[in-house]
Each structure stands twice: as C-alpha cells, then as structure tokens.
Amino acid sequence: MQTADQDSELVRLAQAGNAKAFEALVVKYQRRIARHVARYVRHSGDVEDVVQDVFIRAYRGLASFRGDSAFFSWLYRIATNAALSHLKRDPGDLLLGDDAPEERAEAFEPGVSDAENPERTLMAKQIADTIQRALTRLQPELAEALMLYEVEGKPYAEIAGILDIPIGTVRTRIYRAREFIAKRLEPVLGSQRSQRW
C-alpha cells in the first residue's frame, strides 16, 4: 500500500458509517492538526475548539472526500479554513506581531498550558525523556527503521531499499521498536489510560 492512500480503507469504512474507523483517524492525526492550527490561533483553549471543529467538519463532509489527495492533506486544508474562520469571528486571537509563529507552533502541545496545568507539562516532559532514554537502549537497527519512518517520513518500501532488507523486516523492526518504547512508557502513562481512546 502506498503512503498517499494508506488511510484509504479506514476512510472508506468511516464513509460507510463505521464510527470506530473515524475515531482511529482522529487519534492518528489530532496532534498534527493541533500543531497546524496553533500556527494561526493564539490561545490553547481556542486551538482545541478549532481542532474539534476541524474533525466535526471532516466527519460531516466525509461523503465529499473523493480520495483525489491523501486524507491528511484534505484534513489539513479543512484545518486551515477552520482556523481562518475562527480568526474572522475572533480577530483578537490572531497571531499578528508574532514574529516566530513556526517556533510557537513547534513548541505547542495540544491540551497543555504551562500556566494552567503544570502537571500536564511535567508529564509531557517525562514522556519525552522516557522516549529519549528508550531510544538509547534500543537496538540500533530497530531505532533506525523507526526514525526513518516517523521522523524522516519515508514509506516502508523506501526504508526497505535504504536498509537493504525485505519490507517484512521493516514492518517487524518498526513494530518491535514501538513495543520496546511503549513498555517503558507504561509507568509514565498508566494513570492516563482511562482518558485515552
């Protein structure tokens, strides 16, 4: 399956009324959409409202998604529209005068507000630290495959070419890397389980 249509079956199921398929897409893209919205909108509470609006619009409009572009590209365009609509209603939320919106967006963590919720900020730091520590203990070939996929954005087939391994090995290496890190995150995330999907 190619990267551009990697969501196509989940989208098809969602279009047929399978709510769980849509939820899987929300879980998958919520942070990336939030980061994009944060490029336009100042307050973190408003970012969450806009992100909700993005997924509400996407859900209502699933029938209009024809698969001409990747699902995430479609979602991204909806997010841009929703953020601009929000700014029309509330120009005070505009990031005018902010000379570093990209850096602000990079630093943005959905749902996290330093001043309002230091516990969440601490947890985010614990997650980042735990993942960094886990990476240093991970077998290099597993870390390499995971980083090529998640950070470099390479599709599985390209990773197989780069590492000169079968695509089945790419699949298992990425899975084993995730599992290794997930196990080390369990103590950090344990109390949150009921709040997740």
């Binding site: 399956m1 249509d5 990697q6 196509s8 079956e9 989940l10 199921l13 009324g17 399978n18 769980k20 939820e23 899987a24 879980v27 998958k28 919520q30 942070r31 990336r32 969450e48 992100v51 909700q52 997924f55 509400i56 619009r57 859900y59 209502r60 029938a63 209009s64 479609w74 909806i78 529209n81 929703a82 601009l84 609509s85 943005f108 963590e109 959905p110 749902g111 985010a124 997650i127 980042a128 993942i131 995971l146 980083m147 996929y149 998640e150 950070v151 599985y156 699949r171 298992t172 990425i174 899975y175 995730r178 599992e179 997930a182 995150l185 995330l189 389980r193 709040q195 997740r196 999907w197």
Partner: protein
C-alpha cells in the same frame, strides 16, 4: 496482534484485513491503548511529546452530543463560517 495494530496505524494492511484489525483493536482496551501509544511515540519523536489527555475523547463526545451525521451535500472545504 500488536504487530497488526502497528501495521493498521501505518496503513500497511491489505484492504480486506483492515476491518477485522480495526474491530479487534477497538474491542480490546489493551490494543486500543497500543494504537494510541504507538501514535504518541511517533508524535513525540517529531517533537510533540504531549500526553493524550482526553483530546480525542472530547472530539468523539462532541460528535455524539451534537448527533452528527455524514451529510451528502456538505463540503467542509467550502465551509467559511
């Protein structure tokens, strides 16, 4: 089965395998947890280390609360409210 969750997340399953994998994942809290944690790991590696503190749950709640339906004539890209 966690391998399937990883492949589901990355769109690496064949089309005919997706629904079964989705059903199995959503029916099992442990597998659902893996799906969200694998995603969290990827997001964190890209520099966003926030926990999922109910963000997605609030989106699903709002969809249910507002009784949302897929609307055949609605184009979200033309929505400039």
């Amino acid at each position: 089965m966690s391998l399937k969750v990883s492949l589901l997340l990355d769109g690496q399953l064949a089309a005919h395998e997706v629904k079964d994998a989705l059903d199995e994942t959503t029916a099992d809290p442990g597998l659902r947890d893996r799906y969200t944690v694998y995603r969290l790991v990827g997001d964190a590696l890209r520099g966003n280390s926030t926990p999922d503190d109910g963000y997605s749950i609030r989106i699903f709640d709002r969809i249910r609360r507002e009784g949302m339906r897929i609307e055949s004539g609605y184009d979200p890209l033309a929505d400039n409210r």
